[in-house]
Symmetry: C2
Subunit: 328 residues, 2 copies
């Protein structure tokens, strides 16, 4: 057997069965996954269900702190967690570009399995397609997550009101900066790693707390995108305090070099929460006590003083934070 | 606004919101789809749930009888239907290649919406990514379907026994032949269209019938792939009678010209069922009475006479049907 994936691995025949058995089933097997069945029966009992879908096309597929395999699990379980649901099941769609090595795919799927175990989710069904060289980029994953709605609050931007506080569960921009480094090969190295991780503990820790209005994982578009979403959905101003924003020195350095701002960089293991001012310190204390929560911070608030997204700079000035900075 | 989709439509900002609102939400909106939410709440009440996932990378994306938009709905609901579940919800992952025209995407999503309405399913959440030119092929969809398990039987190849009959709900190979024609531009035209359709009526019509062992939609790899799956899962021989196999003349002609066999061509609107011999005529009668079921036929049987997949030719001979024919 060649060590590269070919179009024949996508044709529904013997090679495809081998790809599925030798790579996917090997790492991902569980009591619900039946690679010979078209559909999986989900053992649901009187649960309220939530579902989400996400596509993963990151380049490069391997990066410090993770790879596209762990990322697709984290991204999907995090969308459920911030919505108030405990993730349980994942469906996995795979689009492989002809020529990908079995070794690389094996590594990615192994990491995926580890991330799924850690998050307590099972891959219940999958599908694999192989596309010709030049019609893909190594591998794309599309994952759908299904979880049990657990939070006492139906989180919504509609609950948000002036004086609410905005928190983040950890440092800002690590994933985006790590990907830029891995992609651009600046010859820089260091301790910078993607923050890719599941945020289930952070979310679950506040599911029974009243006063939590809304949570979001600040992925594509970064914190800036979430703050703009809050602004547009509520009509209130959003004030962010630069001095309180936890940004690693390495991220600041890279951003300075390249002319970016960390607030636009994707995060893949962070939660932003909007909470009633009366519980903000409580949520902060809970989060700081969770693994990887040591940099959690109250970074801003909802205000009626203006109707924009405004950054209070460390020097004491104020400036508009625009919705999006083109990283292209 | 340019009439082409650019990378900026995938960056999480304003352009992406416009793409989602102007194309996806416009056609697909329903009471469960909230384009501002990370996850959708599913209104499930005491149902047994089944789920399935499928990726769609067909080229060309537009073909006689449908397009990749209708195809992704049909493929997904059919996987649920043959498994004994009534499809209810779909999640939609979209990977667009930079440069796709809005008009083409609009057409595809409109057709998707029509197929979803016809199948009685709602798109409950979606995700859109845009990849650089040369890293995709117009558009790929990955759809996860969730449905209510309804059949009285848990369909399984384990229930199959010798003398069981094998039925198909309609003509063989129309989709694969239509795609080959659309792709290869042989300068041929005619009435040949993809069979792409949902098979919910065919499946649902036998959910309460005992004696139905197993159903499968013969997509990638065609009828041959399903027959081999039956052979491998059961260890019994599978006998198919060429004279009984419903193949349109146009499909036969194209296959003769190109050196293919219709049994290896994908079907996207057909069901193969394995049933107890005592109910075979009953299932056939039910199916013939359903729209587009006029060509339904009993095409073969399970046998202990040999352990292979054997085609009885129209000339009275017998030959092994191999598992897969490389379609190049």
């Amino acid at each position: 057997m060649s060590n590269k994936i070919t179009l024949s691995h996508g044709n529904g025949g013997k090679h495809m069965r081998r790809l599925i058995e030798d790579v996917f089933a090997k790492h991902l097997s569980n009591d619900l996954l039946n690679t010979e069945s078209d559909a999986a029966l989900l053992p649901i009992q009187n649960q309220q269900l939530m579902t989400t879908v996400d596509g993963f096309t990151v380049q490069p597929i391997l990066f410090p702190g993770g790879n596209i395999g762990s990322l697709c699990i984290h991204g999907t379980v995090n969308d459920l967690a911030v919505s108030g649901a405990i993730p349980k099941f994942i469906t996995l769609g795979v689009i492989i570009e002809e020529g990908l090595s079995f070794d690389t795919l094996d590594k990615v799927v192994k990491t995926m399995a580890e991330a799924a175990n850690e998050a307590g989710v099972k891959i219940v069904c999958g599908d694999t397609k192989v596309v010709p060289r030049g019609q893909g980029s190594e591998v794309y994953f599309t994952t759908t997550g299904i979880g049990y709605k657990t939070s006492v609050v139906d989180y919504s931007t509609k609950l948000i009101k002036p004086s609410d506080k905005i928190l983040i569960s950890g440092s800002i921009g690590d994933h985006g900066a790590a990907i830029m480094l891995a992609r651009e090969q600046f010859g820089l190295s260091g301790n910078l790693k993607s923050d890719s991780a599941n945020v289930i503990s952070f979310c679950q820790s506040v599911y029974e707390l009243e006063g939590v209005r809304f949570m979001r994982d600040p992925t594509r578009g970064g914190i800036a995108s979430v703050l703009h979403e809050l602004n547009q959905a509520t009509g209130y101003g959003i004030q962010m305090n630069e001095a309180d924003a936890p940004v690693h020195d390495e991220v600041t350095t890279i951003c300075d070099m390249l002319g970016y701002e960390p607030y636009y960089l994707a995060n893949e293991g962070r939660v932003v929460a909007v909470v009633d001012a009366s519980v903000a310190e409580q949520v902060l204390a809970i989060w700081k006590d969770i693994d990887h929560g040591e940099n959690a911070a109250i970074i801003g608030e909802v205000t009626e003083q203006h109707q924009q997204v405004v950054l209070q700079t460390e020097l004491g000035g104020e400036r508009i934070m625009h919705e999006f900075m083109n990283l292209g």
